[in-house]
Protein backbone atom coordinates (compact mmCIF):
# COMPACT_ATOMS: atom_id res chain seq x y z
CA UNK A 1 0.00 0.00 0.00
CA UNK A 2 2.77 2.37 0.84
CA UNK A 3 4.38 1.96 -2.59
CA UNK A 4 1.15 2.97 -4.28
CA UNK A 5 0.91 5.96 -1.96
CA UNK A 6 4.52 6.78 -2.72
CA UNK A 7 3.92 6.92 -6.45
CA UNK A 8 0.74 8.92 -5.98
CA UNK A 9 2.66 11.31 -3.78
CA UNK A 10 5.37 11.70 -6.40
CA UNK A 11 2.77 12.53 -9.03
CA UNK A 12 1.08 14.88 -6.61
CA UNK A 13 4.31 16.66 -5.77
CA UNK A 14 5.02 17.17 -9.45
CA UNK A 15 1.52 18.53 -9.96
CA UNK A 16 1.99 20.75 -6.93
CA UNK A 17 5.16 22.23 -8.32
CA UNK A 18 3.46 22.90 -11.63
CA UNK A 19 0.59 24.62 -9.84
CA UNK A 20 2.82 26.56 -7.51
CA UNK A 21 5.25 27.79 -10.12
CA UNK A 22 3.27 27.66 -13.33
CA UNK A 23 -0.38 28.28 -12.68
CA UNK A 24 -0.27 30.50 -9.65
CA UNK A 25 0.31 34.14 -10.48
CA UNK A 26 3.20 36.28 -9.36
CA UNK A 27 2.13 38.06 -6.23
CA UNK A 28 1.81 41.81 -6.50
CA UNK A 29 3.52 43.06 -3.34
CA UNK A 30 5.97 40.31 -2.46
CA UNK A 31 6.91 39.02 -5.85
CA UNK A 32 7.78 35.41 -6.53
CA UNK A 33 9.11 34.75 -3.04
CA UNK A 34 5.47 34.33 -2.07
CA UNK A 35 5.52 30.96 -3.88
CA UNK A 36 7.08 29.54 -0.73
CA UNK A 37 3.54 29.66 0.61
CA UNK A 38 2.56 26.67 -1.54
CA UNK A 39 4.97 24.60 0.49
CA UNK A 40 4.76 26.37 3.83
CA UNK A 41 0.98 26.43 4.36
CA UNK A 42 0.10 22.90 3.18
CA UNK A 43 2.93 21.61 5.39
CA UNK A 44 1.26 22.89 8.55
CA UNK A 45 -2.13 21.56 7.42
CA UNK A 46 -0.63 18.11 6.88
CA UNK A 47 1.20 18.34 10.21
CA UNK A 48 -1.99 19.05 12.15
CA UNK A 49 -3.82 16.38 10.20
CA UNK A 50 -1.07 13.94 11.13
CA UNK A 51 -1.28 14.94 14.79
CA UNK A 52 -5.04 14.40 14.71
CA UNK A 53 -4.47 10.91 13.34
CA UNK A 54 -1.80 10.36 15.96
CA UNK A 55 -4.03 11.38 18.83
CA UNK A 56 -6.88 9.29 17.45
CA UNK A 57 -4.48 6.36 17.38
CA UNK A 58 -3.45 7.10 20.95
CA UNK A 59 -7.05 7.12 22.15
CA UNK A 60 -7.73 3.94 20.21
CA UNK A 61 -4.69 2.34 21.79
CA UNK A 62 -5.74 3.26 25.32
CA UNK A 63 -9.20 1.94 24.63
CA UNK A 64 -8.34 -1.35 22.92
CA UNK A 65 -4.60 -1.82 23.59
CA UNK A 66 -3.96 -2.95 20.04
CA UNK A 67 -0.28 -2.47 19.12
CA UNK A 68 -1.29 -1.43 15.61
CA UNK A 69 -3.04 1.63 17.00
CA UNK A 70 0.09 2.60 18.91
CA UNK A 71 2.30 2.15 15.86
CA UNK A 72 -0.03 4.39 13.90
CA UNK A 73 0.04 6.98 16.69
CA UNK A 74 3.83 6.90 16.87
CA UNK A 75 4.29 7.11 13.11
CA UNK A 76 1.72 9.85 12.66
CA UNK A 77 3.09 12.02 15.46
CA UNK A 78 6.61 11.58 14.13
CA UNK A 79 5.65 12.48 10.57
CA UNK A 80 3.60 15.40 11.84
CA UNK A 81 6.61 16.73 13.68
CA UNK A 82 8.72 16.48 10.52
CA UNK A 83 6.13 18.41 8.50
CA UNK A 84 5.78 21.01 11.24
CA UNK A 85 9.55 21.44 11.26
CA UNK A 86 9.47 22.02 7.52
CA UNK A 87 6.68 24.54 8.05
CA UNK A 88 8.65 26.47 10.66
CA UNK A 89 11.87 26.44 8.64
CA UNK A 90 10.22 27.49 5.39
CA UNK A 91 8.37 30.15 7.32
CA UNK A 92 11.65 31.57 8.53
CA UNK A 93 13.09 31.48 5.01
CA UNK A 94 10.00 33.26 3.74
CA UNK A 95 10.09 35.76 6.56
CA UNK A 96 13.65 36.93 6.05
CA UNK A 97 13.17 38.72 2.72
CA UNK A 98 9.57 39.77 3.37
CA UNK A 99 9.56 40.79 7.04
CA UNK A 100 13.28 41.44 7.28
CA UNK A 101 13.72 38.93 10.06
CA UNK A 102 14.10 35.14 10.36
CA UNK A 103 11.86 34.98 13.37
CA UNK A 104 9.24 37.03 15.11
CA UNK A 105 7.10 36.20 18.09
CA UNK A 106 3.84 36.76 16.30
CA UNK A 107 0.84 34.65 17.24
CA UNK A 108 0.98 32.01 14.54
CA UNK A 109 4.73 31.39 14.60
CA UNK A 110 4.86 31.24 18.38
CA UNK A 111 1.97 28.84 18.80
CA UNK A 112 3.30 26.56 16.06
CA UNK A 113 6.71 26.59 17.72
CA UNK A 114 5.17 25.56 21.05
CA UNK A 115 3.23 22.73 19.41
CA UNK A 116 6.43 21.62 17.67
CA UNK A 117 8.32 21.45 20.96
CA UNK A 118 5.46 19.52 22.59
CA UNK A 119 5.62 16.82 19.94
CA UNK A 120 9.41 16.72 19.93
CA UNK A 121 9.03 16.03 23.65
CA UNK A 122 6.64 13.22 22.70
CA UNK A 123 9.31 11.65 20.51
CA UNK A 124 11.92 12.09 23.23
CA UNK A 125 9.66 10.38 25.75
CA UNK A 126 9.16 7.43 23.44
CA UNK A 127 12.89 7.12 22.98
CA UNK A 128 13.59 7.34 26.70
CA UNK A 129 11.34 4.46 27.75
CA UNK A 130 12.68 1.05 26.86
CA UNK A 131 9.65 -1.05 27.66
CA UNK A 132 7.54 -0.94 24.51
CA UNK A 133 4.19 -1.36 26.22
CA UNK A 134 4.88 1.33 28.83
CA UNK A 135 6.19 3.68 26.16
CA UNK A 136 3.00 3.21 24.21
CA UNK A 137 0.81 3.97 27.22
CA UNK A 138 2.75 6.99 28.41
CA UNK A 139 3.14 8.42 24.93
CA UNK A 140 -0.59 8.04 24.34
CA UNK A 141 -1.36 10.05 27.47
CA UNK A 142 1.20 12.69 26.52
CA UNK A 143 -0.20 13.09 23.02
CA UNK A 144 -3.68 13.58 24.46
CA UNK A 145 -2.37 16.26 26.83
CA UNK A 146 -0.56 17.91 23.92
CA UNK A 147 -3.64 17.80 21.69
CA UNK A 148 -5.96 19.26 24.33
CA UNK A 149 -3.34 21.90 25.03
CA UNK A 150 -3.21 23.07 21.41
CA UNK A 151 -6.34 25.26 21.62
CA UNK A 152 -5.13 26.69 24.93
CA UNK A 153 -1.81 27.53 23.32
CA UNK A 154 -3.44 29.10 20.29
CA UNK A 155 -5.78 31.29 22.29
CA UNK A 156 -3.24 32.37 24.87
CA UNK A 157 -0.59 33.22 22.29
CA UNK A 158 -3.06 35.05 20.08
CA UNK A 159 -4.38 37.14 22.95
CA UNK A 160 -0.82 37.80 24.07
CA UNK A 161 0.00 39.30 20.69
CA UNK A 162 -3.16 41.36 20.28
CA UNK A 163 -2.50 43.36 23.44
CA UNK A 164 -5.68 44.61 24.96
CA UNK A 165 -9.08 43.45 23.84
CA UNK A 166 -9.75 39.77 23.41
CA UNK A 167 -10.88 38.96 19.91
CA UNK A 168 -14.50 38.02 19.38
CA UNK A 169 -13.66 35.55 16.62
CA UNK A 170 -11.20 32.70 16.66
CA UNK A 171 -8.91 34.50 14.28
CA UNK A 172 -9.39 37.29 11.80
CA UNK A 173 -10.74 35.79 8.61
CA UNK A 174 -8.54 35.81 5.54
CA UNK A 175 -9.61 37.91 2.61
CA UNK A 176 -10.86 36.09 -0.47
CA UNK A 177 -8.01 34.76 -2.58
CA UNK A 178 -7.97 34.43 -6.35
CA UNK A 179 -8.98 30.92 -7.45
CA UNK A 180 -5.58 30.07 -8.96
CA UNK A 181 -3.95 30.56 -5.59
CA UNK A 182 -6.60 28.50 -3.82
CA UNK A 183 -6.25 25.76 -6.41
CA UNK A 184 -2.46 25.71 -6.07
CA UNK A 185 -2.77 25.52 -2.30
CA UNK A 186 -5.22 22.64 -2.49
CA UNK A 187 -3.18 20.66 -5.00
CA UNK A 188 -0.06 21.09 -2.91
CA UNK A 189 -2.02 20.14 0.19
CA UNK A 190 -3.17 16.95 -1.50
CA UNK A 191 0.37 16.23 -2.65
CA UNK A 192 1.89 16.74 0.80
CA UNK A 193 -0.94 14.80 2.41
CA UNK A 194 -0.17 11.88 0.13
CA UNK A 195 3.50 12.20 1.00
CA UNK A 196 2.59 12.25 4.67
CA UNK A 197 0.36 9.23 4.33
CA UNK A 198 3.14 7.42 2.49
CA UNK A 199 5.60 8.22 5.27
CA UNK A 200 3.15 7.21 8.00
CA UNK A 201 2.38 3.84 6.45
CA UNK A 202 6.03 3.12 5.79
CA UNK A 203 7.06 4.21 9.28
CA UNK A 204 4.33 2.14 10.90
CA UNK A 205 5.41 -0.87 8.88
CA UNK A 206 8.99 -0.30 9.99
CA UNK A 207 7.87 -0.16 13.62
CA UNK A 208 6.07 -3.46 13.18
CA UNK A 209 9.19 -5.01 11.66
CA UNK A 210 11.32 -3.66 14.52
CA UNK A 211 8.98 -5.21 17.07
CA UNK A 212 9.13 -8.54 15.27
CA UNK A 213 12.90 -8.45 15.17
CA UNK A 214 13.09 -7.79 18.89
CA UNK A 215 10.58 -10.50 19.75
Amino acid sequence: MSTALGWLAAVGLAAGLVMGFGVAPREVTQGNVQRIMYLHVPAVWVAYLAFAVGVAGSIAYLAGRRPGADRLAHAACEVGTVFLGVNIATGAIWGKPTWGTWWTWDARLTSVAVVFVMFVAYLLLRQAIEDRERAARYAAVLSIVAALNIPLVHFSVYWWRTLHQPPSLLKPGSSTMPPEIVAALLVNFAALALLGAYFVTRRARLLAAEEEALA
Binding site: L62, V114, V117, M118, A121, L124, L125, A128, I129, D131, E133, R134, R137, Y138, A140, V141, L142, I144, V145, A146, L148, N149, L152, V153, F155, S156, V157, W159, W160, H164, P166
Partner: protein, 216 residues
Protein backbone atom coordinates in the same frame (compact mmCIF):
# COMPACT_ATOMS: atom_id res chain seq x y z
CA UNK B 1 -1.48 10.18 50.67
CA UNK B 2 -1.22 13.95 50.92
CA UNK B 3 -0.91 13.68 54.66
CA UNK B 4 1.86 11.15 54.31
CA UNK B 5 3.78 13.40 51.96
CA UNK B 6 3.25 16.44 54.18
CA UNK B 7 4.52 14.47 57.16
CA UNK B 8 7.55 13.34 55.22
CA UNK B 9 8.05 16.92 54.21
CA UNK B 10 7.71 18.35 57.68
CA UNK B 11 10.22 15.89 59.08
CA UNK B 12 12.90 16.44 56.51
CA UNK B 13 12.11 20.00 55.26
CA UNK B 14 14.69 19.18 52.67
CA UNK B 15 12.74 20.13 49.61
CA UNK B 16 11.20 23.23 51.12
CA UNK B 17 14.51 24.69 52.17
CA UNK B 18 16.18 23.80 48.90
CA UNK B 19 13.39 25.40 46.90
CA UNK B 20 13.51 28.53 49.02
CA UNK B 21 17.20 28.95 48.60
CA UNK B 22 16.87 28.20 44.92
CA UNK B 23 14.31 30.98 44.61
CA UNK B 24 16.54 33.32 46.55
CA UNK B 25 19.42 32.51 44.25
CA UNK B 26 17.16 33.15 41.27
CA UNK B 27 16.22 36.52 42.69
CA UNK B 28 19.87 37.47 42.89
CA UNK B 29 20.48 36.23 39.37
CA UNK B 30 17.54 38.27 38.09
CA UNK B 31 18.84 41.37 39.80
CA UNK B 32 22.36 40.94 38.44
CA UNK B 33 21.25 39.92 34.98
CA UNK B 34 18.94 42.89 34.62
CA UNK B 35 21.13 45.53 36.19
CA UNK B 36 20.29 48.41 38.47
CA UNK B 37 17.69 50.04 36.25
CA UNK B 38 14.70 50.13 38.54
CA UNK B 39 12.15 50.86 35.86
CA UNK B 40 13.26 48.00 33.66
CA UNK B 41 12.99 45.65 36.60
CA UNK B 42 9.54 46.93 37.47
CA UNK B 43 8.41 46.35 33.91
CA UNK B 44 9.48 42.70 33.85
CA UNK B 45 8.57 41.96 37.45
CA UNK B 46 5.44 39.87 36.74
CA UNK B 47 7.42 37.73 34.30
CA UNK B 48 10.29 37.31 36.75
CA UNK B 49 7.96 36.35 39.53
CA UNK B 50 6.32 33.62 37.49
CA UNK B 51 9.63 32.51 36.06
CA UNK B 52 10.74 31.98 39.63
CA UNK B 53 7.51 30.18 40.52
CA UNK B 54 7.64 27.88 37.52
CA UNK B 55 11.34 27.06 37.75
CA UNK B 56 11.10 26.19 41.43
CA UNK B 57 7.86 24.37 40.67
CA UNK B 58 9.60 22.25 38.05
CA UNK B 59 12.35 21.43 40.55
CA UNK B 60 9.89 20.53 43.28
CA UNK B 61 7.51 18.57 41.06
CA UNK B 62 10.38 16.61 39.56
CA UNK B 63 10.86 15.13 42.99
CA UNK B 64 7.21 14.18 43.48
CA UNK B 65 7.86 10.49 43.22
CA UNK B 66 11.39 10.57 44.63
CA UNK B 67 10.31 8.89 47.86
CA UNK B 68 8.81 5.98 45.97
CA UNK B 69 11.80 5.69 43.69
CA UNK B 70 14.46 5.82 46.37
CA UNK B 71 12.74 3.37 48.64
CA UNK B 72 11.79 0.97 45.88
CA UNK B 73 8.12 1.56 46.55
CA UNK B 74 7.12 2.02 42.94
CA UNK B 75 5.63 -1.47 42.85
CA UNK B 76 3.72 -0.53 45.96
CA UNK B 77 2.06 2.25 44.06
CA UNK B 78 1.22 -0.08 41.19
CA UNK B 79 -0.29 -2.67 43.48
CA UNK B 80 -2.49 -0.23 45.40
CA UNK B 81 -6.03 -1.51 45.16
CA UNK B 82 -8.83 0.68 43.97
CA UNK B 83 -8.83 3.93 42.09
CA UNK B 84 -5.30 5.16 41.44
CA UNK B 85 -6.56 8.67 40.93
CA UNK B 86 -6.62 9.03 44.70
CA UNK B 87 -2.84 8.75 44.55
CA UNK B 88 -2.83 11.45 41.90
CA UNK B 89 -4.92 13.77 44.05
CA UNK B 90 -2.81 13.07 47.09
CA UNK B 91 0.46 13.79 45.31
CA UNK B 92 -1.12 16.83 43.71
CA UNK B 93 -2.32 18.20 47.03
CA UNK B 94 1.08 17.65 48.58
CA UNK B 95 2.91 19.37 45.75
CA UNK B 96 0.38 22.16 45.64
CA UNK B 97 0.77 22.89 49.34
CA UNK B 98 4.55 22.88 49.05
CA UNK B 99 4.55 25.13 46.00
CA UNK B 100 2.11 27.61 47.53
CA UNK B 101 4.23 27.93 50.64
CA UNK B 102 7.36 28.52 48.58
CA UNK B 103 5.53 31.00 46.37
CA UNK B 104 4.18 32.98 49.30
CA UNK B 105 7.68 33.29 50.71
CA UNK B 106 9.16 34.16 47.33
CA UNK B 107 6.49 36.81 46.86
CA UNK B 108 7.47 38.29 50.21
CA UNK B 109 11.12 38.29 49.13
CA UNK B 110 10.19 40.00 45.88
CA UNK B 111 8.29 42.68 47.77
CA UNK B 112 11.34 43.17 49.94
CA UNK B 113 14.09 43.14 47.37
CA UNK B 114 12.30 44.91 44.54
CA UNK B 115 10.32 47.27 46.72
CA UNK B 116 6.95 46.31 45.36
CA UNK B 117 3.80 47.76 46.81
CA UNK B 118 1.18 45.04 46.70
CA UNK B 119 -1.62 46.73 48.62
CA UNK B 120 -5.02 46.20 47.00
CA UNK B 121 -3.54 43.76 44.49
CA UNK B 122 -3.04 41.07 47.10
CA UNK B 123 -6.36 39.21 46.93
CA UNK B 124 -6.26 39.17 43.14
CA UNK B 125 -2.68 37.99 43.26
CA UNK B 126 -3.62 35.24 45.66
CA UNK B 127 -6.30 34.09 43.22
CA UNK B 128 -4.06 34.04 40.18
CA UNK B 129 -1.27 32.35 42.11
CA UNK B 130 -3.61 29.58 43.21
CA UNK B 131 -5.05 29.16 39.71
CA UNK B 132 -1.65 29.11 38.06
CA UNK B 133 0.00 26.83 40.59
CA UNK B 134 -2.90 24.41 40.38
CA UNK B 135 -2.38 24.11 36.63
CA UNK B 136 1.36 23.62 37.00
CA UNK B 137 0.92 21.00 39.71
CA UNK B 138 -1.85 19.17 37.86
CA UNK B 139 0.21 18.52 34.73
CA UNK B 140 3.43 18.34 36.69
CA UNK B 141 2.26 15.49 38.91
CA UNK B 142 1.14 13.50 35.87
CA UNK B 143 4.39 14.06 34.00
CA UNK B 144 6.43 13.37 37.14
CA UNK B 145 4.84 9.94 37.34
CA UNK B 146 5.57 9.40 33.65
CA UNK B 147 9.22 10.29 33.94
CA UNK B 148 9.82 8.74 37.37
CA UNK B 149 11.26 5.54 35.95
CA UNK B 150 13.16 7.11 33.08
CA UNK B 151 16.94 7.37 33.25
CA UNK B 152 17.15 10.92 31.92
CA UNK B 153 14.26 12.16 34.06
CA UNK B 154 15.92 15.39 35.24
CA UNK B 155 16.22 16.46 31.63
CA UNK B 156 13.07 14.94 30.20
CA UNK B 157 10.67 16.22 32.86
CA UNK B 158 11.23 19.95 32.24
CA UNK B 159 11.31 19.35 28.46
CA UNK B 160 7.90 17.73 28.71
CA UNK B 161 6.41 20.20 31.16
CA UNK B 162 7.56 23.64 30.06
CA UNK B 163 6.02 23.80 26.56
CA UNK B 164 2.73 22.50 27.89
CA UNK B 165 2.74 25.25 30.52
CA UNK B 166 3.03 28.10 28.00
CA UNK B 167 -0.67 29.07 28.25
CA UNK B 168 -0.51 29.07 32.05
CA UNK B 169 2.64 31.16 32.01
CA UNK B 170 1.14 33.65 29.58
CA UNK B 171 -2.11 33.91 31.49
CA UNK B 172 -0.64 34.31 34.95
CA UNK B 173 1.88 36.91 33.85
CA UNK B 174 -0.79 38.98 32.09
CA UNK B 175 -3.07 38.93 35.11
CA UNK B 176 -0.22 39.64 37.53
CA UNK B 177 0.91 42.54 35.40
CA UNK B 178 -2.60 43.99 35.34
CA UNK B 179 -2.87 43.61 39.10
CA UNK B 180 0.47 45.27 39.80
CA UNK B 181 -0.47 48.13 37.50
CA UNK B 182 -3.68 48.48 39.51
CA UNK B 183 -5.85 47.77 36.46
CA UNK B 184 -9.27 46.27 36.95
CA UNK B 185 -9.59 42.51 36.72
CA UNK B 186 -12.36 42.95 34.18
CA UNK B 187 -9.78 43.71 31.52
CA UNK B 188 -8.05 40.39 32.10
CA UNK B 189 -11.18 38.34 32.69
CA UNK B 190 -10.52 36.31 29.55
CA UNK B 191 -7.12 35.31 30.90
CA UNK B 192 -8.65 34.20 34.19
CA UNK B 193 -11.17 32.13 32.25
CA UNK B 194 -8.35 30.59 30.27
CA UNK B 195 -6.52 29.67 33.48
CA UNK B 196 -9.65 28.10 34.89
CA UNK B 197 -10.19 26.20 31.63
CA UNK B 198 -6.59 25.01 31.67
CA UNK B 199 -6.92 23.86 35.28
CA UNK B 200 -10.09 21.94 34.47
CA UNK B 201 -8.50 20.30 31.42
CA UNK B 202 -5.31 19.30 33.22
CA UNK B 203 -7.08 18.03 36.33
CA UNK B 204 -9.52 16.01 34.26
CA UNK B 205 -6.80 14.42 32.16
CA UNK B 206 -4.78 13.71 35.29
CA UNK B 207 -7.70 12.06 37.03
CA UNK B 208 -8.70 10.04 33.97
CA UNK B 209 -5.26 8.87 32.91
CA UNK B 210 -3.34 8.36 36.14
CA UNK B 211 -4.62 4.79 36.29
CA UNK B 212 -3.04 4.19 32.90
CA UNK B 213 0.31 5.56 34.03
CA UNK B 214 0.34 3.42 37.16
CA UNK B 215 -0.42 0.23 35.33
CA UNK B 216 3.25 -0.64 35.22
Amino acid sequence: MAWKDLLVERRSKETLNALLFFSLALLFVFQFALGPDRERLAAVLPGLLWLGFILSGVLGLGRSFLVERENDCWEGLLLTPGDKSAIYLGKLAGSLALMLVVEALVLALFVLFFNVDLGPALPGLALVIVLGTLGVAAVGTLFAAMTAQVRARELLFPVLLLPVLVPVLLGTVQVTEALLLRESLAGVAHWLKLLVAADVVYLTIGLLTFDVILEG
